[in-house]
């Protein structure tokens, strides 16, 4: 069989997981699939084990937070098939009350620290993770600093006033 293309992957994902693949889009050179978070583990496992696709390399993962969206929290995963040189991205969004994702540590050993990082900064919990605790921040920290409600600068400061300059960036995001 010739090398699979991104269409083959999309078709077989839709065929196999149907409803669970919510949408597919193209972001610059990447194909992005938005999926239901319950099916995340199964999809990654399928792509990992499939003898044609061989997505055996977990490039990276990270948390996302869009406070105004109906599903404000999300995880982004990037897989790379080294044999076919295809990179794809998954996103799975969820509500604030349900931050539990399946851990990928049983498929990728490298997911261990990446998931700990996502927990540390966003508060996602990963079911099946062997050692889910904070990694870069101090252990007794009681909030998740990468969430949008935490500003970089101390809000009590009055000596810095940006209102006259610059457009409203995301630092003005309402929570």
């Amino acid at each position: 069989m010739s090398k699979p293309t991104i269409e083959d992957i999309s078709n077989s994902l839709k065929e196999k997981f149907g409803e669970n693949v919510i949408s597919e889009s193209k972001e610059y050179d990447f194909t992005v699939y938005t999926i239901k978070k319950e099916s995340l583990f199964e999809i990654v496992k399928f792509l990992f084990e499939d003898s044609d696709f061989q997505f055996r390399y977990l490039t990276t993962m990270c948390g996302l937070h869009y406070p105004d969206a109906p599903l404000p929290f999300g995880m982004m995963y990037q897989l790379h098939s080294l044999t076919n040189n295809i990179r794809i991205r998954f996103k799975a969004f969820t509500t604030k009350d349900d931050l539990e994702y399946a851990s990928l540590t049983t498929i990728f050993s490298g997911a261990n620290w990446m998931e700990r990082e996502a927990y540390d900064f966003f508060g996602f919990r990963f079911k099946g993770h062997p050692n889910l605790k904070r990694i870069l921040n101090v252990e007794d920290m009681d909030y998740f600093p990468m969430r949008k409600e935490y500003k970089v600068e101390d809000e009590t400061r009055t000596d810095k006033d940006d209102t006259m300059f610059g457009r409203l960036g995301n630092s003005k995001v309402k929570v």
Binding site: Y57, N85, G110, W113, E117, L136, M146, G166, R167, G169
Partner: protein, 400 residues
């Protein structure tokens, strides 16, 4: 007195290696469980120099973030700078002239050489061979002098701008680059003579801290550490950026993934980098264009100062860029470059605002350092030190 032959309750020693330890070249803590001198288990604690780079990214306009990237892998900061510029250029769909891309390649390969140089000579130091380290430092100094000619800084370079370079390389810079390509092989050969077939060095490094190709891939290794295990994954070849597809070079791979292989892969890569720099110089000579040093992107590239003072339009652009008033497309990009340690990726989400909405950094060190306990298990303490230095774990990149 009667000696018992059987030890009933086995006791292990707990040893704190770090956070500050002269042999770890940075702030790493490893709590080792030792059976005599053999490591039974270990746990790494990281984050001692965490500076919230991802959060800071959400606060800084695009052009101001370059200085943060300097402070990740500070042994090869130009590669990080270029990686960041290229990410933003990808977002704003900016095409660069060939001359700029070749100039970037020269800088990136010089940075790769200085990165590998430090890593390899430090492996020497950790085996007790100080000489190589001391001699090779004059070459790193030489590379830093080239940086200095180009951007005025040495370690945290902040080289280049979105769209190209801040200024053209001057005559001295070109002369120094050419003389580096000519002179450096002598120094590198001398260094190799000290270590490559040195019996003591080989005994210390062959077989220490090994990892198989399968495990390395599973751990998402990249860069020289992955290639030492025998996987020929190099971003420069897989997803060429900055015109790497125009160049001829080999990807050296190892077989055992041990300290010696990592050393040799880096050693070989330095020769390849030299070849790439030479090719880039030749290509630049053949190019008709001898003056362009940035793309034509007035929305992002600051106009020359004399124009800002004398010309209305230039002043407007200057103001717009500095105040972050330029329109940036909405969207998300991922761009990766082959850094000194492997795939250095920038995942950038833009909401059209003046700074990134979300910035995630794929730092190769952070990802492969988690395999460290597995790699040193069953080995001696002194080998653990060697394994760490041969993995080239840079605290700045690890903790970001």
């Amino acid at each position: 007195m009667e000696l018992t032959t059987e030890i009933k309750d086995k006791h292990y020693t707990t040893l704190n290696l770090g956070p500050t330890h002269p042999a770890t070249h940075g702030i790493f803590q490893n709590v080792l469980k030792m059976d005599g001198e053999i490591i039974v288990d270990s746990e790494s604690t990281i984050g001692y120099i965490h500076r919230a780079f991802e959060k800071l990214g959400e606060h800084k306009p695009f052009y101001q973030y370059t200085t943060m990237t300097d402070r990740m892998n500070y042994c090869s900061s130009p590669i990080n700078n270029m990686g960041w510029h290229m990410t933003v250029e990808k977002l704003i769909k900016c095409e660069l002239p060939k001359r700029v891309e070749y100039m970037r390649i020269i800088i990136m390969e010089l940075a790769r050489i200085s990165d590998h140089l430090i890593c390899n000579s430090v492996i020497g130091v950790d085996t007790g061979a100080m000489t190589g380290f001391l001699y090779i430092f004059q070459w790193r100094e030489f590379i830093y002098e080239i940086y200095e000619e180009i951007c005025g800084a040495r370690l945290t370079t902040n080289i280049g701008r979105i769209g190209g370079f801040e200024r053209d390389f001057n005559e001295t810079a070109w002369r120094k680059i050419r003389s580096f390509v000519k002179e450096y092989p002598k120094g590198l050969k001398e260094f190799e003579k000290l270590l490559v077939r040195n019996r003591i060095f080989m005994d210390r490094t062959i077989g220490t801290g090994p990892i198989s190709a399968e495990r390395a891939l599973n751990y998402s290794f990249s860069g020289p550490n992955l290639r030492a295990a025998g996987v020929d994954y190099d971003v420069r070849v897989m997803n060429p950026y900055s015109s790497y597809q125009d160049f001829e070079f080999q990807i050296p791979v190892g077989t055992n993934g041990d300290t010696y292989d990592r050393f040799m892969v880096r050693e070989q890569e330095m020769w390849e980098s030299l070849g790439i720099i030479q090719q880039a110089l030749d290509k630049l000579d053949k190019l008709e264009d001898k003056t362009t040093f940035h793309a034509d992107v007035p929305d992002f590239y600051l106009p020359p100062k004399e124009e800002v003072y004398n010309d209305m339009e230039a002043l407007i652009y200057h103001f717009k860029i500095v105040m972050g008033e330029t329109d940036v497309p909405k969207g998300e990009v991922y761009h990766c470059v082959e850094g000194g340690n492997g795939e250095l990726g920038f995942y950038l989400i833009s909401d059209g605002g003046r700074q990134p909405y979300r910035l995630h950094l794929r730092r190769p060190c952070f990802i492969y350092y988690q395999a460290y306990p597995e790699m040193i298990r069953g080995g001696m303490l002194s080998d653990a030190i060697l394994t760490m230095s041969s993995m080239n774990v840079i605290a700045g990149e690890l903790d970001a």
